[in-house]
Symmetry: C2
Subunit: 343 residues, 2 copies
């Protein structure tokens, strides 16, 4: 039976995770969940971010379900580098998966894009690039200060995530993969990405391919998001592009993500893209849909595609039935979703 | 009298530059223009990108007006690194200025944003960051390949562009500067940017400031572009954010830019953000508005704010008078703009 580590985290994290667990329990009765107390609250209380013992325990699970960590009182980088990125890197979660759909029943910000027309997934590299943590500072605090950040890219890391993107594309209707980079300026990394992309593409003659510079892709995500199917890109470009994709499909309130180790050597981690939203925390009004969609990605990754599909269909039913402007209650949404998923 | 070097370039470059010159001649009679043949066509013909002798001649001008360079047959990087970026770096054009307005009379893609509501300017750093060209490749073409790209940031370079952004903000109504970076991941460069920003902000108590991570800014540019006044950011983030800003204000067809050396030690360069658009080149249907707005930035930089304002007002008149769907003729638009500007 699936063993899931639950990191509810801060702010609205616990509220939305409760609903995600409700839905998982409904479609996969018997899944075991163990809670881990990590995030801003723990850091404030104990000074600890991610003790080695906890890391070791997490490694023994099949997957991690995460709500949200962080709040404005924690200095930038502490929880990001010490918790989120540490898990992505230590657990070799090289596929950062971020689907975006403009769901029927919702409204996006774009006048010319109708619900149902956007259905894309960004496969963001998760273990390399500018996130490697390579860089430094000289002459700090003086007029002579210089600060560097280095993007590290390996054929190993680039090829495996591109391969994952093509595999996903072959399971989709349009079978199209767009590589996004900035080959005209970042010529070294760009050339590596482009050559690896070409090599993997040659193994998939049934998949349509295209290349776009990151600035052009950012623009086309706003003007023609319908054109994308699978997008594969590096860690930082993926960070930016997925927030644009979320914005054009109704906001990060609905955006799910998975940090996946496809090899299964380590647990994969699933979390809503939204943060801890301290302003609405504790009020029971946070929308749990992004957390529930993240749970669907978790179920799919753990080998339960039918359960995942039922959860996704439940979300579709929920969203199609919403009346714009009517406030929602977190727990009621979770109850409805669990109900739809087993109906 | 102003001495302007004109690089018309490839594709629609010469067409739109002709109209920009028409407008400059109308508002600043007697401005001297010298044409330089650079771009894809010259490279194909002679193998030359930017001979030292031409670079030296360009340096003797007050400003450069550029149409567009490049076409799909030139390998990535050749004209970018060899011409555009070489000019930005050699002429120390550290302020890459990109205004975005949703002009009355135009339609943007966002359902909830009305013409007239967006008026922002991105001050993008132009001489540092990941554009420095620092990086390399080891074990190229083997499974062990590693490729790096390095972002170089100096206090000197960061502070001067932030200072420019604040100066611009004090001349605007809302007096607000947003710093965009990714301080939670790019901790070295992020800290340098954040500290320099704080220091310059302290000198400008009359300017409102805010900070956003680049992913959040990319999202808010789509959901609430109205909230921005002046945005200051690094070279690569600026590249991406300005294309989003262009997209939400009706596309790069209207987007102007200046690569500015505010110290006046070297000529500044002005160019539409759009490319050479080979598909419509030679047909006389390209919209010259972005080139004409770039000419307005040029006039402003050369100390002719009144002439610049007249050109900008002419564009406002032109756009307010357009009927959606009616095709335009490049030369007619230029004639009208020149006429409005002197009326
Ligand atoms: C919190 C931060 C480290 C993280 C990232 O940059 O990857 C977040 O923005 C995300 O996209 O998951
Ligand atoms: C052509 C390219 C080098 C350039 C850049 O990346 O700066 C372009 O995208 C721009 O924004 O002016």
């Amino acid at each position: 039976m699936a063993r899931i580590a639950v990191v509810a985290g801060d702010g609205i994290g616990p509220e939305v995770v409760t609903e995600a667990r409700k839905v998982i329990d409904a479609v996969l009765p018997g899944a075991e969940a163990t809670e881990y107390d990590l995030g801003a609250a723990r850091w404030h209380r104990t000074g600890e971010v991610l003790p080695d013992s906890v890391l070791a325990e997490l490694a023994g699970h099949d997957a991690i379900l995460l709500g949200a960590v962080g709040d404005p009182t924690v200095p930038p980088g502490v929880l990001e580098r010490g918790l989120l990125l540490k898990l992505r890197f230590d657990f070799d979660q090289y596929v950062n998966l971020r689907p975006s759909r403009l769901w029927p029943g919702t409204t996006g910000p774009l006048a010319n894009v109708k619900p149902g027309e956007v259905d894309l997934v960004v496969v963001r590299e998760g273990t390399e690039g500018l996130y490697a943590g390579a860089g430094g500072t000289l002459h700090r605090g003086t007029p002579a200060e210089v600060a560097t950040e280095e993007s590290l890219n390996t054929r190993h890391g680039v090829e495996r995530v591109i391969r994952d993107a093509f595999t996903r594309a072959t399971r989709r209707e349009r079978r199209k993969v767009t590589l996004v980079h900035k080959t005209n300026v970042l010529t070294h990394a760009g050339s590596l990405w482009a050559r690896a992309f070409e090599a993997v593409a040659a193994e998939h003659p049934d998949v349509t391919t295209e290349y776009q510079h990151v600035d052009a892709a950012a623009m086309f995500l706003v003007t023609q998001p319908q054109r994308y199917d699978v997008v594969v890109t590096d860690n930082l470009f993926g960070d930016i592009l997925t927030d644009i994709a979320a914005a054009v499909t109704g906001g990060i309130g609905l955006a799910a993500s998975g940090s996946i180790n496809p090899d299964g050597a380590y647990p994969s981690m699933f979390e809503p893209v939204h943060g801890s939203a301290p302003d609405i925390a504790g009020k029971g009004v946070a929308d749990p849909v992004a957390a529930v969609l993240s749970a669907a990605l978790l179920l799919d990754q753990l080998g339960h595609p039918d359960a995942a599909a039922r959860v996704t269909a439940a979300v579709a039913t929920e969203l199609a039935g919403r009346t714009p402007g009517v406030p929602l209650r977190t727990a009621e949404v979770g109850d409805r979703l669990a109900g739809y998923a087993v109906a």
